[in-house]
């Protein structure tokens, strides 16, 4: 890294990410123009479809739940100086954990089964992240490469299991049988209906509350706990950590375990909250969106919630947009995600330098 640029906090946490997002949207707008569509009407459909109706809003918040989990997963590892791009694989394994718990303990009542299912997700996700963490800490293999390999291993493993082992004998689809009904995490519209409030039906379920709680816990952990302090020290200076009596190897494994467990939340929302069975490719590349979310949110839980909302809007609005303007498929969201990762992550210095330049000039002008 070059000499750190001293930006005021508001510029660092709000202005620079905002510029990245605006730049990303401008580039995305150019793509829309390039394929001969009107970016303004596209934006209108996007907002209309994601925020304009109660149902749309429900779906937006459903996707937001996914992104909060994967964003937090990337962020926790990031604070420890680790780049976990294995969210896809960890969430996939978490889905396996859910299926094994729910479909083997069908006799349990819901108030026991739901927490056990969530624990199963966290445990399997954590285990799949712990191995790369351990290999990095003890054997020196690079976490990025191992987590990439573990993503592919997970996808191969789940295909094998769903095709050969877990599939219902009479079913043609590679998916498990439906989970027992008492394990379904209640839909938000059902919860509201119980209180006599009518809200439009959507996939949104109570996992959103879990996601927000997870964000709060991550904030407590990272900024208010001894362990979180150790994680941040290891992330910013492993040598100093050793002098402070912190073991970087231990912290590496712990951070990866937490990261993998958080990635498991994606599986909880998708499978226990909505699909109610384990199926192929339910992670839909969201693990990679988590990287964009974490970078945009500056690895801070509040930033991650906001970034997740933005991506929720993009995913839900993008689906509606693809319906209204078929030329703009949902892949547009992947493009926007890619550009945001590029701008807010890799080209971060570009905007920071520009902002620093403008700010110093203003300061000089005032003197």
């Amino acid at each position: 890294m070059s000499a750190p640029l001293d930006l005021p906090k508001w510029a660092d946490t709000v202005l620079v990410p905002a510029i990245s997002v605006v730049a990303a949207f401008l580039v995305a707008g150019l793509v829309v123009v390039a394929i001969g569509e009107n970016p303004l009407t596209a934006t209108r459909w996007l907002l209309q479809g994601s925020l304009g109706t109660g149902e749309g809003l429900g779906f937006t918040l459903f996707y937001m739940t996914d992104f909060i989990f994967v964003g937090l997963a990337v962020a926790v590892a990031y604070h420890a100086g680790l780049f976990n791009i294995g969210g896809e694989g960890q969430a996939t394994l978490a889905g396996l954990g859910i299926a094994l718990v729910l479909n083997n303990l069908t006799f349990l009542p819901g108030f026991l089964l739901i927490p056990l299912g969530i624990l199963g997700a966290a445990a399997f996700g954590a285990a799949w992240a712990a191995i790369p963490g351990y290999l990095q800490a003890k054997r020196g293999s690079h976490i990025v490469i191992t987590t990439i390999m573990f993503n592919w291993l997970a996808s191969v493993l789940i295909v094998y299991l769903l095709v050969n082992v877990l599939r219902e004998p009479q079913s043609m689809n590679p998916e498990t049988r439906a989970f027992p009904e008492q394990s379904y995490i209640p839909f938000m519209h059902e919860v509201f209906a119980a209180f006599g409030i009518e809200v439009p039906a959507s996939q949104l379920n109570l996992t959103l509350v879990l996601a927000l709680a997870a964000a709060y816990c991550v904030w407590l952990l990272i900024y208010r706990s001894r362990l979180g302090y150790a994680i941040r020290v290891v992330g910013s200076n492993p040598t100093a950590a050793v002098y402070a009596g912190i073991s970087p190897a231990r912290i590496t494994v712990i951070a990866m375990v937490l990261s993998g467990a958080l990635a498991g939340g994606l599986a909880v929302n998708e499978l226990m909250g909505y699909q109610h069975r384990l199926l192929l490719e339910f992670t839909s590349g969201y693990g990679f969106v988590g990287i964009a979310v974490a970078l945009m949110g500056r690895a801070h839980p509040v930033g991650i919630i906001l970034a997740s909302l933005l991506f929720g809007i993009l995913y839900q609005g993008g689906a509606e947009l693809a319906f209204e303007q078929p030329a703009i498929t949902r892949d547009m969201v992947v493009v926007i995600g890619g550009i945001i990762i590029l701008f807010a992550g890799a080209l971060d210095g570009l905007f920071r330098r520009a902002v620093a330049h403008v700010l110093t000039r203003q300061k000089l002008a005032r003197v």
Partner: protein
Amino acid sequence: MDLGILVTVFDSALRLSIPLLAACLAGLWSERSGVVDIGLEGKMLVAAFAAAAAAYAFGSAWAGLVAGIGASVVFGLIHGFASISQRGNQIVSGVAINMLAAGLTAIVGNAWYAQGGRTPPLEGAQRFGDALLGHSALVYVVLLAVPLTWFVLGRTRFGLRLRAVGENPAAVDTAGISVTGLRYVAVVIGGVLCGIGGTYLSVGQSAGFLTNMTAGKGFIALAALIFAKWRAWPALGACFLFGLLDAIAIRLQGISLPGIGEVPVQAIQALPYLMTVILLAGVIGKAIPPRAAGVPYVKER
């Protein structure tokens, strides 16, 4: 086993290993100069799309090759700009390249041809036909890149400097040679090789582009690169081995082996990833990357 089957399996192994080899050598050039490249997959994908689109538009496979290389080099330069000039995080940039490529090819393909992201089928001169022994010219171009890479990197002054930039850029800088320049050259060479690999996928091996047709080949190439310990000839071996595994997996589909029973295809598919993890863990041998790989170079002031 009879000879005919061996020849067919060998043939399809060669076919399957070519895109891996092109991407693997691309990664080799880039990482030997100190720029980590996990965007191999994305560069191959844009190349595959651009090649198929150009081959269809101009009715010539060679036009496809030019377009494929061009698109891949542009993406390589984005990665280069972010990681060399802006000293950004090279992993993050690579992830961005992969997402951009996956999204853009799908959108543009769908907007241009309205066939669910495919390009129209290519035929005749729009494809690379058999040049020699049932393989297209691209196969030999990629195979030729192996000795070329070995020679240029290992036996020329330019190659020595490029490798030095990946190990100790400060020393190269002190000698008055541009670190930035050398790294850009490496990134462009990587772009060209990925471009050839991607073109081979859509215009050589198949007859047109399919959404996400690289299907992880860029990551297997990355695994092969680690397996080959960042060397050209071993890269050929590793890519051929992974291609062979793939060919065997296809061959064994639904066949019951005496004494073993049916081997699950997934078990063979998992081998490249598994072997890489084991190798990286240092259980068998040790794979050590170029020392400055992934570290942006900052001139001391």
